[in-house]
Structures are given as C-alpha cells and as structure tokens.
C-alpha cells in the first residue's frame, strides 16, 4: 500500500538556480557598492540638524515674492510643458507609425524608429536642456525643445503599441473598398487609437509639467530659473514659495489628467 509521497515543487531546479543566481549577484553588487561608494559618515550624522536648519530658513515663506516673479515663471513653465508636448507629436507620430508592425512591415524601418525612440528616452530631459541651451542660448526655446525631444521616445513607443493593438477587421473592410493608404490611416486606425492617443499625450503632459519645473536649473526657462536664483542667494523663504507653487501645479495637473483620462477610457 503506497501512500502518495511525491514531493511537490513549484519551480524546476534550473528555475531555482537561476533565481538564486540573480539574488546572489544583487547582494554582491550591493555589498560592493556600499563598500566602495564615497560617503562621509559625519555628513550623514549631521543631516537632521542641517535639514532642520533648512526648514527653519524656509519658514515663514516670502509670499510677497509670488506676484513679483513666481507667477509669471509658473505660467511660462506650463507653456513650456504644453508646447513641448505638442511639438513632440510632429516627430513621435511618424516614428510610432514606423514602429507599428501592422502599418509598416519592414525590419529596417523598425530598427531606425527604435533607434530614435531609445536614444530620445535614454538622454534625460536635463541633459537635452543642456544641449539646447548651448545651441539656442538660455531661454524658453531650449526648454520647449528639451521637453519635446525627451517625450518623443515615450509617446512614440506607447502610441506604436496602441496602434499594434488595433482591431484589424475594420482595416480589412476599408482595404476591400479600395481606400487609399492615407484614408485607411485616417478612417481605420485613427478612430480606434483616438482614446489611447489622448490618454498617452495627457499622461506625458502631466510628466512634462514636473520636468519643466526643473529645466530652469540649467537655464532653460520657467520656474526653475527663479528657484535657482533664490537658492544661489540663499533666500530659502523664496525657495519655499517656488516649491509650494510647483507642488500645487503638479497636484492640479495630476487631478485634471486623471479626471479626463477616466472619461476617455
């Protein structure tokens, strides 16, 4: 009389070993990094005191500074984010079309578009801003273009994926009527990706509002310039006002976007 005694295991030996290998590598990397990173312990012990000092300098906030400089800079920041998001579309839509396998069925095109999308995403918006500041000089243009170039990768990738998920039935129906390539794009694909398109663009706009608030630190316009100036002059009460303004705008932008997206979906 044999009872059932086989041992149940969730993972195979190979799965287990490869998982443990990942853990091991992580632990090793962590230990190695902690040992070799240059951290001055005195600074860490000092941190709470310094933090307290900073916040005591921030309070009370210099609200009188808001109408003088912060308000206009905040509007400029919003404009940079919005204009940047719109300009992105000029580049991102063609790249998304090239990246979608059901529209352009060519490996070469896909590689080209993927190259542009990945390099756009890999370079941080602050680095893009540095590049454009050295091209166009300090100012709003650099900020707008930095936002635009950083967003290409994000919008292009997500939009390309949305296009690939389109229901091909209506596309085939349009093809059967002899519609031109452009008409198929406009009347077949576009209505189907419309909600995804607006949702992606709004999502990116939300991120861009956050990002455009810091571009001024490298001279690309917006609230960051005010922040940088006040910080260089150690006017922490003005820094606090600028930070509060950024906080409020970011929260408002998120609320707006979440509500619109809820309606779209």
């Amino acid at each position: 009389m044999n009872t059932i005694d086989h041992h149940w295991e969730r993972f195979t030996l190979k799965q287990k070993l490869s998982r443990y290998a990942v853990y091991l590598v992580l632990v090793m990397a962590f230990v190695q990094s902690v040992q070799s990173v240059e951290v001055i312990p005195e600074f860490l012990l000092d941190a709470p005191e310094q933090m307290g000092d900073m916040f005591s300098r921030m309070w009370p906030m210099d609200f009188a500074y808001y109408p003088v400089a912060v308000h206009d800079a905040m509007i400029e920041t919003l404009n940079i984010a919005t204009l940047g998001t719109l300009i992105t579309l000029i580049f991102a839509i063609p790249l998304a079309l090239m990246n979608a396998r059901n529209i352009v069925d060519s490996a070469l095109c896909q590689w080209i578009s993927r190259f542009f999308l990945v390099s756009s995403r890999s370079v941080n918006s602050l680095v893009w801003a540095l590049l454009f500041v050295s091209i166009f000089g300090p100012g709003v243009i650099a900020g707008v273009l930095a936002i635009a170039f950083r967003s290409i990768g994000f919008i292009g990738k997500l939009l390309g994926e949305a296009i690939e998920e389109v229901n091909m039935g209506s596309i085939e129906a349009l093809k059967a009527t002899g519609a031109s390539w452009f008409s198929i794009l406009l009347k077949g694909y576009w209505p189907q990706v419309l909600p995804a398109f607006f949702s992606i663009v709004l999502f990116r706009w939300d991120i861009n509002v956050r990002e455009s608030a810091v571009l001024g630190l490298v001279g690309a316009g917006g609230i960051g310039v005010v922040l940088d100036d006040s910080m260089n002059l150690f006017q922490w009460d003005r820094v606090a006002v600028a930070l509060l303004a950024i906080f409020v705008i970011v929260i408002l932008a998120e609320i707006v976007v979440v509500n619109i997206r809820k309606r779209l979906m």
């Binding site: 990094s33 941190a47 719109l86 890999s122 970011v250």
Partner: protein
C-alpha cells in the same frame, strides 16, 4: 433608389468635438509663440549653432577615460544601492498602503507619504538633500530612494489591491499568522509583477543617477555638467555615448531578469 443612401447614417461622421479641440490647440500654439518671443529668426540662428556644436562634438574625446570611468562607477553604485534600499522600503510601504490588507487609519497616511515622494522631481529632492547631507554620492542615493518609493510603492500597493482574496482566506483557514498569510498567499500572486516594477525602477534609477550629479549629488552627471560648462563638447559627446550604452546595457540585463522570473 437615390433615397437609400440618404437614410443611412454616414459611418465617417465628422467629429466636431475633436475638431474643436484641434482648433483650440492651433490657437494656443500661435498665442504662446507670440507670448514667449519664439521667432523663426532665432530658431534659424540656432540651427547654425547646432551644426557648429555637432562639429565640435565629433569625434568624441575618450582621452580622459579615467575621469569618465570614476563617474560611471559612482553612478552605478548610486543606482544599485538606491534601487535595493528603495525596493526594500517600498515592499513594506506598499503592503501598508494596500487598502484590502490594512485598516484605513494605516493605509491613508502611508498613501499620503507615497504621494508626497512622487510629487517632486528627483532633481528638486536632490537639491534639498545636497543642502542637508552635502555634495556627493550620499545625496544622490537618498534622492533616488525617495524617487523609487514614490513610484514603486504605489504600484506595489495597486498590485496587492488587485489580488484574489480566496487564496488569502484559504491560508487563513489553516490558522496561519499574519506573516505566513503575506508570504504564502499574497506574495505568490504579486511576485512576478513586483519583479517587473523593480527592474523598471532599476532602469529608471540608472537613468536618473546620471542626472542628479547636475546639482551636485554625485555620479556621471557632475562630470557631464562641468564638461558642458568648460565647453569641452567632444568630452560631452563621449559621456553621452557612455550614458546611452549604460542604459541600453541596463535594459538588456533587466530583460534577462524578467525572463528568469516569468
């Protein structure tokens, strides 16, 4: 016969709502171009500079590779330490923020903390940390820990909220304690998604670790920023190439990890 077509609704009806949005967008663009003094003259002038800049960037100058390497190693260290600490903290915060696991007097304040971590851009957090712990890698590490918490603790909490409670109940019926319930009924359901979020966060910390240096928080960003300020554009090009290579390598690695844990 001619009447048939008129009865039928046009399938390609004009969507006035969308058209009016586009019209608004066009008006907005025209308005802001005026309000922000963006003129074609200036943009045109910029293109000349762009050619100039590209000319000076090529060929990239790798002769100061030791400086480049030390910045790169520091960026990597910042990314590794902050990701592991950030993920570890997020595991707990995510659990505490999940509304189906915790009573609301625990989950609401934890959610507030997570939202606060998410609101500010890492660079702003980096500035505050540079002020409080001084220049160097420590400020970068703390910044990216905060950024990681803001992003993945939220995703962890959402993942936990979507689990099926049947398995939780089954484990609870065996008389298991709280830790066992978490380990044997919650974790198996969400672990694969956690790995996905974590590898994504590792990628994004890698990207950000090359940027926080711009405000003095250590890593390759500081090297990049000073190269920009000294107009060493050929060195800038070398750094940018290294950053892009690093990030592509990071994506490659996280794809492997994701495949192992699928």
């Amino acid at each position: 016969m001619a009447g048939i077509n008129k009865d039928r609704e046009n399938p390609f009806k004009h969507n006035w709502f969308v058209s009016s949005i586009w019209l608004l967008v066009v008006c907005y663009v025209l308005y802001t171009f005026n309000a922000m003094d963006l003129s074609w003259g200036r943009i045109n002038e910029g293109f000349g500079h762009a050619g100039n800049l590209l000319g000076r960037m090529i060929p990239p100058n790798f002769s100061r590779w030791s400086l480049l390497l030390s910045g790169l190693v520091e960026s990597l260290e910042i990314a590794v330490i902050s990701s592991i600490c950030g993920i570890f903290i997020s595991l707990f915060l995510g659990l505490f923020a999940a509304r189906n696991m915790m009573p609301s007097w625990i989950s609401s304040p934890v959610r507030g903390v997570i939202a606060l971590c998410r609101t500010f851009h890492p660079v702003i957090i980096a500035i505050l940390f540079v002020k409080s712990v001084g220049f160097g890698a420590l400020a970068g590490i703390l910044t990216l820990i905060v950024a990681s918490i803001g992003f993945i603790a939220k995703l962890f909490a959402e993942a936990i909220e979507e689990i099926s409670l049947k398995q939780v109940e089954a484990i609870r019926a065996t008389g298991a304690g709280f830790t066992s319930i978490i380990l044997f009924s919650v974790m198996p359901q969400v672990f694969a998604r956690f790995i996905g979020f974590s590898t994504y966060q590792l990628d994004s910390n890698l990207r950000n670790s090359t940027m926080v240096g711009i405000v003095g928080a250590g890593g390759l960003g500081g090297t990049l920023f000073s190269a920009f300020q000294r107009f060493d554009y050929d060195f800038v090009a070398a750094i940018l190439i290294i950053i892009i290579a690093l990030i592509m390598f990071g994506e490659f690695l996280s794809n492997i990890v994701r495949r192992i844990f699928r």
